[in-house]
């Protein structure tokens, strides 16, 4: 078993996709780097923190992007975002079997604030255009930096989300919430609190992700193959169902995920953090069956 979280973006591409099938567009040797970072005295990266290209997954042609969390926390800058947009627009033209986003990002790269914000909004539009044209988009979340900010929204725009139990997915990150609302509201150093609020197990139980797996590159590959075959049509009734799910969640005015888990019918919520991914998936399926 090889930890997905501990792999670099390029190691993930090598192990999730069919061996040797990844063909990169704008590879590092082309040096399409950030036009902003050097002016701020920050080193650039030859790929601006994201590798994009085409590959095969279980024989099916896919387009794929992998964000490198080690470079600026996976932050989306102008070039980084443009590479994601270009990939999705090319998918609209070439119609691969699907697009895989191996997301690991704190959101917009603050050094490139406005350009990064615009880039993320363009990624969302391009992603929804691809989905509307029938090209499914699957997001894999399993890096140590999680998937936050604008990339958290991008993930929520996709057909399917795969998470490991160490993955985190949310909008504002723990430090942001603490900085804006105080430590009484959210203690970002309380790792157990952070994970049961944003982590994979909570996302699975809340219905925010479609597959919860262990932190293993082979499990991510298997889940990506499975989810690629489960497109979610971008239609009004699906959007209304999503809105109903979110509206129902507002009724849970709970202070902690433990309370939320109890309210959705879990008898022993304190046992959840120690469960395996498969046990949480089974629990979620049992709850869905009761509903």
């Amino acid at each position: 078993m090889i930890s997905y979280a501990e792999c670099s973006a390029r190691e993930r591409l090598a192990r999730v996709l069919d061996a040797g099938s990844f063909h990169e567009w704008l590879p590092p040797a082309q040096r399409v780097t950030s036009p902003h970072l050097a002016q701020l005295g920050v080193p650039s990266s030859f790929d601006d923190g994201v590798a994009v290209g085409r590959a095969t997954l279980d024989g099916a042609p896919v387009f794929v992007a992998a964000q490198e969390g080690g470079f600026m926390g996976g932050g989306v800058g102008e070039v980084h975002g443009a590479k994601l947009v270009g990939l999705l627009r090319r998918a609209l033209r070439d119609r691969p079997a699907g697009v895989l986003l191996l997301a690991e990002s704190g959101g917009v790269r603050l050094h490139e604030a406005n350009a990064g914000l615009i880039a993320v909004s363009e990624v969302m539009r391009a992603l929804l255009d691809a989905r509307a044209a029938g090209v499914p988009v699957v997001v894999l979340v399993g890096g140590a930096n999680g998937c936050f900010g604008g990339m958290g929204i991008v993930a929520a725009c996709a057909d399917r989300i795969v998470m490991s139990d160490v993955a985190r997915l949310s909008m504002s990150g723990p430090e942001v919430i603490e900085a804006s609302h105080g430590v009484e509201e959210f203690d970002s150093r309380d790792r157990a609190l952070v994970w049961r609020t944003t982590g994979g197990k909570h996302r699975a139980l809340a219905g925010d992700c479609d597959a919860l797996i262990e932190d293993d590159v082979a499990a991510f590959r298997a889940a990506a193959i499975a989810q690629l075959g489960r497109p979610r049509p971008l239609a009004v009734d699906a959007l209304e169902a999503e809105h109903a799910l979110l509206a129902a969640r507002l009724a849970h005015a709970t202070a902690d995920a433990y309370d939320f888990w109890r309210e959705i019918g879990i008898g022993e919520p304190r046992a959840v953090p120690d469960m395996t991914a498969a046990e949480v998936e089974a629990l979620h399926a049992a709850l869905a069956g009761d509903a």
């Binding site: 990844f22 040797a29 002016q39 005295g41 080193p43 990266s45 490198e68």
Partner: protein, 106 residues
């Protein structure tokens, strides 16, 4: 150059032609880490370009890169580095990792 970043370049005469090979990239530009890219240049030099956020270590870089060149003596290799304060030992290991991947499929 730009404030904050230091750009360094080194040029060694090589004795071992590296020939043609696909570009190699190893490492990540993160705190205490660096990325190293090796490309074929087709000449008889081993040229190294470094961009680093840690200013004032040109002599240390020279020592690490001379040590690297003494081991391999490459001719026809372009080494490009983006550094965020890696220690000399980490730089040396990344260079060796890159060499190990030359000619291997990425």
């Amino acid at each position: 150059m730009q404030p904050g970043l230091e750009t360094l370049s080194y040029d060694f005469a090589g004795t071992r032609p590296a020939g043609a090979f696909a570009p190699v990239l190893v490492g990540v530009v993160g705190s205490g880490n660096l990325e190293v890219m090796l490309e074929a240049s087709g000449d008889d030099r081993c040229r190294v370009a470094v961009e680093t956020s840690a200013r004032g270590f040109a002599d240390t870089w020279r020592a690490v890169l001379e040590d690297f060149h003494a081991r391999h003596g490459f001719a026809g290799v372009r080494v490009s580095i983006n550094d965020m304060g890696a220690t000399p030992a980490v730089v040396g290991l990344r260079l060796e990792q890159a060499v190990a991947q030359m000619g291997a499929t990425p």
